[in-house]
Symmetry: C2
Subunit: 305 residues, 2 copies
């Protein structure tokens, strides 16, 4: 099953609310919270150069790093693009290093805005993990790959819970923080159309790097509410309350949320981004010109090339 | 979000190998093992009669059973069909009782053969859980619904591991037996075409009701092999060895597996059914006229009606 090229798709993820749970071990660090995964997401294409894949695929064990001669041969590193432009993403580089796949050519493609609360960096990291594992025949399990991508994302400070949510798909609820083995997930069973509008970037690193005590208290309250009544309208209401209590609501999102509410719909702000998202036709009904997609049912997956 | 009708799709699941782990608690009982989920699966449509859904949806807590007046009103029970013919499935009935949704009209539809090792009964139970939860607005989480369907399937003796595998999708590896909260899953990251041929029924109840010691020893060996090298060809090879060691191989499946091997492909027998499945075009290349689909990436999900 050695293969030279592989492609993965990872859904976008808008976080409705969260609490931050740092830890020295990036696989244990993470967040509690909930959000929606989106059928709009990130596609990652990985090509292994000739000679980088063990032809016989018999490393002997699934979790061994490749041997030293591979690492030397790959020292130069392959190309990195985002939407066709030369650009690297820190968490992706860390994933490739962990899989001894830095020689890969990696193309990240997405229609989602970057830095606007859709978890694009986490999706790119997870997609790179899935596709590089396949292209380089690294024989890691899904849990291993999620753990590697989660640790890379946490290590770079660009996210705490997107990767595990994106791996699951649907409407993930992060009951306990961290990667598989440490974290614990559930889900709100739902299918729905989702609309979103973006007003600009918001730095995840800045918010997560500051004092997160008030944010975390508000996030825990929101999670308690959702666990009491695990339904989408409750998730949206808990998200609005979280944004207010954690003092994260930006004016453009607040205005959109109010407009959707006035039109009889349900909207909230994506954490962390200058983005409002709504169920059904909420934003359209309120006079916005949103992007629209559905909740993603599958979570991250390899796809046909 | 109260709704009167809902539809769920659940992938088929062919078990490659397994070990049986009985327990007095059906949510803790289950199996270790691995298999493939299939894009060919089971669709379950649930309609709630007028008055069976709480209009305001405010039970107050997510996990309350509905009140006694609902239960009385629903005592008669709704219709049950499988592929359009009047027929009930024990595990489905138990799921509906647990969700206080026996008044539902439930239609199960599948192109998969029943009793041939595709986990149709587990898929029907899980699909009924997802769709009834939605149609009756019962506010259960995904983990709750998987637990209910798993316990119903185990209680009826018709399966031990299909439900948790079908909930996950992909190529699920059951590391620890049981429903969410007890069990533990991983997955082999893979996408592939799968072909299958069925030669008749095999009673899961009879095999699981007999002495399972040899079967379980062989299943544990197979799982150890897959964990050492979590790749599809290893899964298929471990499955063939399991079928021989557990003395479960039926002649028609053995013949098909040998023919696929002779043609350079990978095939195995579905546990428990008179069914052979192969990766890629294995069965076609060996001269069979198989059904074909792909590995299902998503797992069980609500779908648009």
């Amino acid at each position: 099953m050695s293969s030279q090229r592989a492609t993965a798709f990872v859904p976008g993820h808008v976080t409705a609310f969260f609490s931050a749970h740092p830890d020295d071990d990036p696989a244990v660090a993470g967040s509690r919270g909930a959000g929606l995964t989106l059928a709009d997401g990130v596609t990652v294409r990985v090509s292994a150069p000739d000679g980088a894949v063990d032809g016989d695929g018999n490393d002997g064990g699934g979790n061994d790093a490749a041997d030293a001669s591979d690492r030397d041969a790959n020292a130069d590193g392959g190309s990195r693009t985002v939407d066709g432009e030369s650009r690297s993403i820190g968490a992706v580089d860390d994933v490739l290093a962990e899989l001894d796949a830095t020689a890969a050519d990696v193309a990240v493609e997405t229609d989602l805005p970057i830095g606007a609360g859709f978890g694009v960096s986490g999706a790119a990291a997870l997609g790179a993990a899935l596709a590089a594992n396949d292209a380089f025949d690294r024989a890691r399990t899904e849990n291993d790959l999620v753990r590697i991508a989660h640790a890379a994302e946490v290590g770079r400070g660009t996210g705490l819970g997107d990767v595990v949510a994106q791996a699951r798909g649907g409407v993930p609820v992060r009951l306990e923080p961290g990667a598989p083995g440490a974290g614990e997930l559930d889900g709100v069973p739902a299918t729905a159309r989702v609309e979103y509008v973006t007003f600009g970037e918001l730095s995840t690193e800045t918010v997560l790097g500051g004092d997160t005590d008030a944010l975390t208290a508000a996030g825990e309250d929101a999670l308690d509410r959702l666990r009491e009544d695990p339904r989408l309208p409750t998730l949206m209401d808990a998200a609005r309350e979280f944004a207010r209590e954690a003092d994260l609501l930006v004016p453009e999102a607040a205005e959109a949320i109010d407009a959707v509410d006035a039109a009889g719909g349900e909207a909230a702000m994506a954490m962390l981004g200058r983005t409002a998202f709504a169920l059904g036709t909420g934003l359209s009904d309120a006079g916005y010109d949103p992007e629209a997609c559905r909740i993603d049912a599958a979570g991250a997956r390899l796809v046909e090339r």
